[in-house]
């Protein structure tokens, strides 16, 4: 390598300057033109999980982060360099998305047995186990005990080598009831340990009792706070009780709907497809009931003005459209928020990219067709079109002719934006179809379980949790298991080793 000679002649300081200059040149070249530049490929994040569905990173989400192959896109990490070297060797760069997707399986296959970070563990083993193939300090971990440890643990106060029912009982009481079990309760539960059916019954009863407490279901309770990041409450524009200085909408109804759909024998897909508008009739004990359609008008700013057959759960409420759509004709923020909050896919992190053909069309003349923008907007814009007929601030209604109001501010082509769009590469005629596709997707089930997993277990699913996490979200979808009932899923979640092992 000739650079050694450069360093030898000019010294380390000058070398640093040369390296910096070279680095800047590479970056500049990458920005300036296509020749030999490193290119990040958005479809890779979805394709990877199609090729390796059992990889740890694919257990919690159908996409991988860009950092699987890149440091900061488009710069590659060690693993990405190996993949790149085996990706359609000899073919002209940059590859089209179609050529890239076609060549990716073979390239990944070619590097499975290589060891990018030189830690002695092949790339594939690291991908499956959840450690990082490009980082030598990241290695698969084992949570198993030796037989001797297991015997010792089983005899101890806490069984650190396996599921410990007494530990799970204490956790359920704290997590869901908001208090520790009393000493008498703990001792009574321990009496049941010789009989698995007895302790399982007692644990299930405790969970059922706690799921009806104000601590779990009440205002500012656990479920309420689980919805914070989805509802994004702002007091200054709150309407209804304790209204802010500019009352526009009342987020309390959104919290009610969230809690209602996450309790009892209700289908959690209603978060995206539901049409009910739910009132909290009491907070102690917490009780809810749907508001009759003829009672909606009396609610004024707090109510739901979108016709029932045009409602899509949490993503067409007055609050959601007020804080996200506001006055925007093509409300990309609204679609991105729904995608992130209910499907766990953050377009800002290049997750869930499914570029649509001939997009972005840039109907509102925002310049999103520029190459640097089109990377995400070819997914985001068709994802957004179904939201374009829903008014934001003030009106909060479905209006098929809504875009006519924006010609003066957003140009004459804005009215050409279709109501039909695309989600996960699937064409949809309107938001009703959009929400059905979204609610039935793996991404939705994974996001629902992910939220509860983080809440109950206290951290994101790790490499050792992959099998149990997958069981939970697949079970949520299965009719003969949880059938989209989150409380049924919770009953299974508290029996996982991830939850019950100290």
């Amino acid at each position: 390598m000739s650079s050694g000679g450069v360093r030898g002649r000019t010294g380390p300081v000058a070398w640093a300057g040369v390296a910096a200059a070279l680095g800047l040149s590479v970056v500049a070249a990458g920005l300036a033109g296509p020749a030999n530049r490193a290119v990040a490929k958005p479809p890779a994040s979805m394709e990877f999980c199609k090729i390796y569905p059992t990889a740890h990173v694919c257990a919690a989400s159908p996409v991988v982060n860009c950092t699987t192959c890149h440091t900061v896109p488009p710069a590659r990490n060690l693993f990405g360099e190996q993949v790149s070297a085996n990706l359609a060797p000899g073919a002209a760069r940059p590859l089209s998305d179609a050529d890239f997707v076609a060549a990716l399986p073979a390239a990944l296959k070619a590097v499975e047995s290589l060891d990018a970070d030189g830690d002695g563990i092949p790339n594939l083993a690291e991908l499956i186990a959840g450690s990082q193939p490009e980082l030598a300090s990241s290695r698969p971990t084992s949570a198993s005990c030796t037989p001797g440890q297991a015997r010792s643990a089983a005899a101890g106060r806490w069984n650190t080598c396996g599921y410990d029912p007494a530990h799970a009982y204490r956790k359920v009481t704290l997590d869901v009831c908001g208090r520790s079990p009393t000493r008498a309760e703990t001792e009574a539960f321990r009496q049941l340990l010789p009989s698995e059916s007895a302790w399982r019954g007692a644990l299930a009863n405790r969970l059922d009792q706690c799921l009806r407490t104000p601590y779990w279901l009440g205002v500012n309770g656990v479920l309420w706070n689980l919805a914070n990041a989805k509802i994004n409450p702002v007091d200054s524009i709150k309407a209804g009780p304790r209204a802010g200085s500019i009352p526009l909408a009342d987020y309390e109804w959104d919290y009610n709907l969230f809690a209602w759909l996450n309790t009892g024998d209700r289908d959690v897909r209603g978060l995206l497809t539901g049409q009910d508008f739910v009132k909290r009739t009491s907070d102690s004990p917490p009780t809810f009931e749907p508001v009759p359609e003829d009672g909606m008008r009396a609610l004024r700013q707090a109510g739901q003005t979108v016709p029932r057959d045009k409602r899509a759960g949490m993503i067409t409420t007055r609050w959601f459209t007020t804080v996200n759509t506001m006055f925007t004709p093509i409300p990309r923020t609204t679609a991105a928020a729904a995608y992130r909050q209910y499907l766990g896919l953050d377009l800002a992190r290049m997750q869930g990219l499914h570029p649509a053909v001939s997009e972005p069309a840039d109907y509102d003349a925002k310049g999103v067709a520029a190459p640097a923008c089109a990377v995400c907007h070819s997914t985001l814009d068709p994802l957004t079109y179904p939201f374009t007929r829903y008014d934001g601030i003030i009106r909060n209604n479905y209006n098929p002719n809504r875009l006519k109001n924006f010609v003066r501010t957003d140009g004459p082509r804005v009215v050409e934006a279709p109501e039909a769009g695309e989600i996960f590469g699937q064409k949809v005629a309107n938001l009703m179809e959009w929400s059905q596709v979204a609610a039935n997707s793996d991404a939705f089930a994974q996001k629902v379980v992910w939220d509860y997993w983080k809440l109950m277990i206290g951290r994101e699913p790790g490499p050792a949790d992959q099998a149990e996490f997958t069981l939970m979200w697949k079970g949520l979808k299965a009719q003969d298991k949880f059938n989209y009932r989150t409380e049924r899923m919770l009953h299974a979640l508290v029996l996982t080793e991830a939850y019950g092992r100290p």
Binding site: S144, S152, A155, G156, R157, L174, R179, N228, G462, P502
Partner: protein, 206 residues
């Protein structure tokens, strides 16, 4: 220089707690289990912590810990650093993933305030005392044993094992050398022993 009483008490606590310092496995009772290869302990958070102590120490939840005699420790004063959220005003939607630098300081402060509160109530109304019950004569092993039972039962909701009893007895004897044997000294010992357990990892995590 005269050190204010609360600071002196806290300094005494810090000095004395070193006597109670335990090896990593010692807090476990009965038979030692191996350390969990993948521990998943969670912070109880300020609200659950105070609910537990309010129930155990028989102090109304709204009175158990008030900063400046006004601001609830978990709901107002230390809400975020003790694992709470405030989505409406400061826009913290979920508990902090990592404890802040102030979290252990706030936690210790809450534990000390709760124990002070209980001991003050016990002194004011001995007939309904929960933790502090003065010895009939000189505080002896039996008094320390009974106090240990009350503390473990009330704060950790379990009995103490033999090793824990022994350590607590040694801790209380060490305190006695500093606080004296008077009823006031016994109250201080009770307060500091309460603080030792209420600020333990077992009380804070689950």
């Amino acid at each position: 220089m005269r050190i204010p009483a609360p600071i002196a008490l806290a300094l005494t606590a810090i000095l004395s707690l070193s006597a109670l310092a335990l090896p990593p496995t010692a807090a476990r009772a009965q038979e030692a289990a191996p350390a969990s290869p993948d521990p998943r302990v969670k912070f109880k958070d300020g609200e659950r912590y105070l609910r537990d102590l309010a129930e155990s120490l028989e102090i109304p939840r709204k009175e158990i810990c008030l900063e400046l005699s006004r601001y609830d420790c978990a709901d107002k004063a230390f809400r975020i650093v003790l694992g709470g959220v405030d989505p409406y005003e400061i826009r913290i939607m979920q508990p902090l993933d990592q404890a802040s630098l102030a979290s252990p300081i706030a936690f210790d402060r809450v534990a000390l305030q709760v124990c002070s509160n209980r001991v003050a109530r016990d002194k004011a109304d001995p007939a309904t005392a929960v933790l502090f019950k003065p010895a009939a004569g000189r505080p002896d092993a039996a008094w320390r044993e009974a106090l240990t039972d009350r503390l473990y039962d009330r704060i950790l909701r379990r009995g103490a094992d033999a090793a824990e009893r022994q350590r607590m007895a040694g801790f209380l004897e060490g305190l006695e050398a500093r606080t004296g044997r008077s009823p006031k000294g016994q109250a201080d010992q009770t307060l500091l022993a309460c603080f030792a357990l209420a600020s333990s990892a077992e009380a804070a995590f689950y």
